[in-house]
């Protein structure tokens, strides 16, 4: 089988240990392992490092474990999806992805909106306060996401676990990484019981198309 690691524009972009098959205006960076690796951390990192080592302005990383039967199948697949791939490559060109999570230090912070108010009052006032508190972290997440999306070329929000009020992926031009980090630091300043946690740069996994199989 052929393991697909990434789509690039030119076969010259293939890193050591992999090769590229050019089809039309795009090229697939592939390996042909004798057996498929199980999805354990070492194998996931190996795929990630291979993608990171591609010296190209525009890289569309593949999901781990994406395989095709043979070169003919890969050829048909890329030919059928060339337009959407070229468009996606142009979109991510010169960019990296940055992950940002807004994390509540405790479940209490999720409910109390960053302050540790333990107010228990009777009747309507209590319900009103409770409603406002429940919405506060969400409002903070939306404001931060909007601000970071402004600095980015594109942005995607993911569903988070309970204490994650925001899980965002941001497509940032390499030249704007400093400005993006500054924006994250600025947003992190007055969040109280909420923290902003950021990792990256990553290849632009969140800004990749799904390939349709030609019939």
């Amino acid at each position: 089988v052929i393991v697909l690691h990434a789509i690039v524009r030119s076969p010259a972009d293939a890193p050591d240990g992999a090769h590229a098959l050019a089809i039309g205006g795009v090229a697939a960076v592939v390996t042909r392992p004798s057996e498929l690796s199980p999805p354990e951390p070492e194998a996931l990192w190996a795929h990630e490092r291979l993608v990171e080592s591609i010296a190209s302005a525009a890289v569309l990383p593949a999901r781990f474990g994406t395989v095709v039967d043979d070169e003919a199948a890969l050829h048909r697949l890329l030919a059928a999806n060339e337009a959407v791939l070229l468009q996606a490559l142009e979109h991510v060109a010169g960019c990296v992805e940055v992950s940002v999570r807004m994390w509540a230090r405790s479940a209490m912070a999720v409910a109390s909106g960053g302050t540790t108010s333990a107010a228990v009052g009777p009747g309507r006032a209590y319900l009103q306060e409770r409603r406002e508190a429940l919405h506060a972290p969400r409002a903070a997440a939306e404001a931060t996401h909007a601000r970071l999306a402004e600095v980015a070329r594109d942005a995607v929000e993911r569903r988070g676990a309970r204490q994650e009020v925001l899980v965002g992926a941001y497509l940032v031009p390499r030249g704007d990484l400093g400005a993006f980090r500054d924006a994250v630091a600025e947003e992190d300043r007055d969040l109280g019981e909420l923290d902003l946690l950021s990792t990256g740069p990553w290849p632009p996994y969140h800004f990749t198309p799904r390939l349709e199989v030609p019939r």
């Binding site: 999805p39 795929h47 999901r63 474990g65 309970r162 923290d195 990553w202």
Partner: protein, 73 residues
């Protein structure tokens, strides 16, 4: 502001890696090696292995056993 904790930082990087290499990236419709169920299983296995409380909350009770190996389609 976030306090820097190297162990927590390593865990965060691994969670972000999983959110990318297993859950996003170019996929081939109907022709992927890992089914959605398999990916969820790997997710749960690795995340619970990490000891992340958020994993159990997001995916329900942790599943026993190691992540299932890839099988050729």
């Amino acid at each position: 502001m976030s306090a820097y904790d190297p162990a927590a930082a390593d865990e965060l990087v691994l969670v972000d890696l999983l959110d990318r290499v297993l859950d996003r990236g170019v996929v081939i419709a109907g022709d992927i090696t890992l089914s959605v169920a398999d990916v969820d299983l790997v997710y749960v296995g690795l995340r619970v292995f990490l000891g992340s409380a958020s994993a159990a909350e997001r995916f329900g009770a942790p599943l026993p056993g190691r992540p299932r190996a890839l099988e050729a389609s």
